[in-house]
Symmetry: C2
Subunit: 241 residues, 2 copies
DNA sequence: TATAATAAATGTAATATTTACATTTAATAA
DNA sequence: TTATTAAATGTAAATATTACATTTATTATA
C-alpha cells in the first residue's frame, strides 16, 4: 500500500512514535458549589508567572503515572480536601495558541461539591475565592470558554439528573432546591410547578424540621432518598423546566 | 505560602515544564454514515504492528503545528476525501494502560457524512470497511467504549438537531428519515407520529419527485430547507421520540 | 386488463405533560 | 393584636405525546 499523503496512526511507520509529537497534557477543574441561592465557582489567583495575579481555574499537568481522572481528583482534593466527588468531563481544549510558549492540551472536568463540606483553610492557602456566575472576573487563556461550555453541559445534565443531590446540603428546603435550578437554568421557575414536578418524582423524604433562616413561617426540610432516587428518576421528563 | 502537598499548575515552579510530563496526544475519529436504512461506521483494518490485522477507528497523532480539530479533519479528509463536515468532540480517553508501551491520550470526535459523497477508492486504500452498528467486529484498545459513548452523545444531539441534515442524501424520503432516527434511537417510531412531528417543525421542502426504489407506490422526496431550519428548529421538543 | 401485492400516506381520540395563575397559612416581630 | 413575610397549595387551559387502522398509488403478474 502506498501512502498518497502523510501516513496516519492506524498504520504507524516505526519512526512515528517520535518525541516531537509529545505535548503537555493538563487538566483544568471547574469547581461548582451552591450557596445562598447562587451557583458559585471556585477560582484561583495565580501567585507566580506567567499570569501572576490573574484569575484562573485550578489545573495541573497530568503525570505519566496517573489517569486523567486521578489528576483532576488530585487537584480537587488538594484545593478543597474533598474526595469521592461527582466529576464529569466536558471538553478538551487544544488550540495551537491557547497557551503561550508551549503546546499544551487541557482536559476539563467539572466538579459539584457541597460548599459547607469543603476545607476553607485550603482554599485560602491556594488563593482561591468563590464567585457568583454573574460576577466572574477576567480569566486567563480560554478559561471563560471552558466555563461557558461546562455550564451548558451542566444544564443538560440537570434535566436528567438531580444535580441537587451533589450541590445541596444533606438537608434542604424546596425553595432552596428551586433556586438552585433557577440559577442553573438562569430563569425563574414557578414555585407551584416546581414543587409539583419534583414531588412527583418521589425521590425526596420530607422531615419534620423546618429551616427558618429565610422566613418567619419556615420551610420544611427534605433529604434525598438515594434508594428511591435510583428507582424513580428514570422518568423521561426528569427536571426540565 | 507553603505547599503541603505536591504543587499544582496554577502556581508552577520553574522546573515544572519538564519533558517527563509530555505525552503522545492522538485523536480518533468516529466516522458515521447512513445507508440502506442503517447507521454505519467506518472501521480500519490495521496493516502494521501493533495490532496488525485488527479493526480500529482511524486516528492520528496530533502534530505540534495543528489544532485538535485540524488533526481530526486531516484524518477525515485523508480517508474519505471530505472536508467541511459536521464533527463534534465526545470525550478524551487517557487511562494509564489504554495503549501498551507508551502513554497516549486520545481526543475523540465523531463525524457525520453522506455515504454517497465519500471517496470509496480512498477507503479501499486505507483498508476501511463500513459496518452496521449491530455487527461491529472486535476492536483494539478502548475503541468500542469510544463508540458507545459517541452513540449516546449522538442520540442526545439527534433530539435537538436534525442529524438528517448531515447524514441523508440531499433528497430523501420521510420513511428514509424515519428509519435513520429508528437506527439512532434503536427503536421503532410510529410512521404517523414521526411524520406529524417532523412536518410540524416546518424545515422541509416537499418535491414533486418520488423515489420508487423501495415501493411500487413510491415515496415523495424532500430536501432540508436550511433557511427554515435555522429559523424553526428552536422548538423545545425537537425530534425526541 | 383485472387483480394481487406492497409500502406510502393519512387522522383522530385518549392520555400525559406543561404552563399560567392567586390565595391561604404559619410564624415572627412590631 | 396586627403587620409582615415567605411558604404552601390547586386547578383549568393549552400543548405534546401516544396508540392505533384504513386508504392510496403504483407495479407486477395472472
Amino acid at each position: 500500500m502506498i501512502f498518497k499523503k502523510k501516513p496516519i496512526v492506524a498504520f504507524p511507520p516505526k519512526d512515528f512514535y517520535r518525541l516531537d509529537h509529545k505535548m503537555y497534557v493538563a487538566t483544568d477543574c471547574i469547581i461548582l458549589g451552591y450557596d445562598s441561592n447562587n451557583l458559585k465557582l471556585l477560582l484561583f489567583q495565580r501567585n507566580l508567572e506567567p499570569f501572576k495575579g490573574e484569575w484562573s481555574l485550578i489545573g495541573t499537568f497530568v503525570h505519566l503515572d496517573e489517569s486523567l481522572e486521578e489528576a483532576s481528583e488530585r487537584v480537587l482534593e488538594q484545593t478543597t480536601g474533598l474526595t469521592n466527588i461527582f466529576m464529569e468531563q466536558t471538553f478538551t481544549y487544544g488550540g495551537l495558541k491557547r497557551d503561550p510558549g508551549y503546546r499544551c492540551v487541557s482536559i476539563v472536568r467539572y466538579a459539584l461539591i457541597r460548599l459547607d463540606e469543603h476545607d476553607t483553610k485550603l482554599a485560602k492557602e491556594y488563593h482561591a475565592k468563590w464567585f457568583s456566575l454573574d460576577e466572574l472576573p477576567n480569566m486567563i487563556l480560554d478559561h471563560q470558554q471552558m466555563i461557558n461550555d461546562a455550564l451548558e453541559i451542566l444544564r443538560e445534565k440537570a434535566k436528567k439528573q438531580s444535580i441537587g443531590f451533589e450541590l445541596l446540603p444533606k438537608k434542604f428546603t424546596l425553595p432552596q432546591f428551586r433556586r438552585l435550578y433557577e440559577s442553573i437554568y438562569q430563569k425563574e421557575i414557578d414555585p407551584r410547578n416546581f414543587r409539583k414536578k419534583v414531588l412527583s418524582l418521589d425521590i425526596l423524604t420530607k422531615l419534620e424540621e423546618k429551616d427558618k433562616s429565610n422566613s418567619k413561617k419556615g420551610a420544611f426540610l427534605y433529604t434525598f432518598n438515594a434508594l428511591k432516587y435510583g428507582k424513580n428518576f428514570a422518568s423521561k421528563a426528569g427536571l426540565d423546566f
